[in-house]
C-alpha cells in the first residue's frame, strides 16, 4: 500500500500529510498534482486541507472539477480508500463522493483548537484499531465545518454506520457545548455507504507527535495502514 496525497492549487496541508504518513508512519507516499489523471490501484488517496482555489465561491466547489478528481472517482469505484480532511472533506462532498454539505460555522468564525472526537463506528478502515466510544484529541482549523444533510439521509447514514466521528466533551458526551461549529448531530466525520470514502473536519495528520500536543491522529492513520 502507498499513500497518494493530492495537491491542488491552494492546498496547504499537503506537506503536513505527506510528512505524517511518510516520516512519522514510515509508509511510502507521493504527491499527486491536481492535473494528473492516474491513481494506482494500490494507493490510498489522501485529500488534504487548505484553501483549494482560494475556496472561492464555496469551499471545494472549484476543486471538484480538477482533472485528478476523475481519477479519484475511478479509485473510489474500485473500492480504494479515500480520506478527505477539512478542505478535503469539503471537496469530497462537493464532488458527490460523500453525502451532505459543509457550511459556515455556527458563530461565523474560523475556529482553530484541539477538540475531543468520539469514535462512533470502529468497524471501518479508518477506525478499526480503536473501539466504539474511544475519545481522541485532535485539532480542528476551519471556517466551514458545519455539516448539513437532510434528515432522511441522516437516518439512512446512521442506520448504515456512516457517522464515524462526533464532537464530544472530554467525557465523551456529544453535548451542544462540545459542538464547535454547529454541525448537525455533532457530526465530525462520515463515510460513504460502501465504507471506503471518508471525510472528517479534524486534522489527524496534525496530531502525530506529542511534542505538538497530541499523537492521537496516528491511531487513525495506522488503521489505514494495517487495513491494506
Amino acid at each position: 500500500m502507498k499513500f497518494a496525497v493530492l495537491q491542488f492549487p491552494g492546498s496547504n496541508c499537503d506537506q503536513d500529510f505527506l510528512r505524517a504518513v511518510r516520516d512519522v508512519l514510515g509508509s511510502p507516499a507521493r504527491m499527486v498534482w491536481h492535473k494528473e489523471t492516474e491513481i494506482d490501484p494500490e494507493e490510498t488517496v489522501l485529500v488534504p486541507g487548505g484553501f483549494s482555489y482560494g475556496d472561492y465561491l464555496r469551499c471545494g466547489a472549484i476543486a471538484q472539477f480538477s482533472p485528478v478528481m476523475n481519477a479519484v472517482k475511478v479509485a473510489a469505484e474500485r473500492g480504494q480508500t479515500i480520506l478527505g480532511v477539512c478542505n478535503g472533506f469539503q471537496i469530497l462532498c462537493e464532488s458527490g463522493l460523500l453525502p451532505g454539505a459543509l457550511v459556515r460555522n455556527r458563530d461565523l468564525h474560523f475556529i482553530c483548537e484541539t477538540i475531543h472526537l468520539r469514535i462512533d463506528n470502529s468497524r471501518t478502515r479508518l477506525t478499526h484499531e480503536l473501539k466504539d466510544g474511544d475519545v481522541l484529541r485532535i485539532p480542528i482549523a476551519h471556517g466551514e465545518g458545519n455539516y448539513r444533510v437532510d434528515l432522511e439521509t441522516l437516518q439512512d447514514m446512521e442506520a448504515h454506520g456512516q457517522i464515524v466521528f462526533r464532537y464530544v466533551d472530554h467525557d465523551g458526551k456529544d453535548s451542544d457545548s462540545a459542538n464547535p461549529n454547529g454541525s448537525l448531530s455533532n457530526i465530525a466525520g462520515i463515510c460513504n455507504r460502501s465504507g471506503n470514502v471518508f471525510g472528517m473536519m479534524p486534522h489527524p495528520e496534525r496530531a502525530v507527535e506529542d511534542l505538538l500536543g497530541s499523537s492521537d491522529g496516528l491511531k487513525l492513520l495506522k488503521s489505514l495502514l494495517s487495513y491494506a
Binding site: L57, R58, A61, I62, F65, C93, E94, G100, A101, V103, R104, N105, R106, D107, L108, N146, R148, V149, D150, G182
Partner: protein, 81 residues
C-alpha cells in the same frame, strides 16, 4: 450579453450568516426586519448573441458549479445588452 445568477440558501437550510446580519440590523434599531437570508449575486459579461444556447450552458454551470443543490437554489437572469 449580460447574465446574473442569484444563488440563495434553501429555506430549509440554516443560514447563520443571515441570522447574524438580522441581529446586527436590529441592533442598529431597525426592528422591523424579519427573516434575512444571504446569497450570492454573480454577474457575468458574455460574448455572443444566442440567448437560448447561453441559457442552457448557464443552467449547467449554475447547477454544477455556482450552486450546491444540497443547500442552495439558483435563478438565472439573462439579458441581451
Amino acid at each position: 450579453m449580460k447574465a446574473v445568477v442569484v444563488v440563495t440558501p434553501k429555506t430549509t437550510v440554516l443560514d447563520p450568516q443571515g441570522e447574524a446580519v438580522r441581529n446586527a440590523i436590529h441592533n442598529l434599531g431597525m426592528e422591523c426586519v424579519g427573516t434575512t437570508r444571504i446569497g450570492k449575486y454573480i454577474e457575468m459579461e458574455i460574448d455572443g448573441s444566442d440567448l437560448d444556447k447561453t441559457r442552457d450552458q448557464l443552467e449547467e454551470i449554475a447547477k454544477d458549479l455556482l450552486s450546491n443543490p444540497v443547500i442552495e437554489d439558483y435563478r438565472i437572469e439573462l439579458s441581451a445588452d
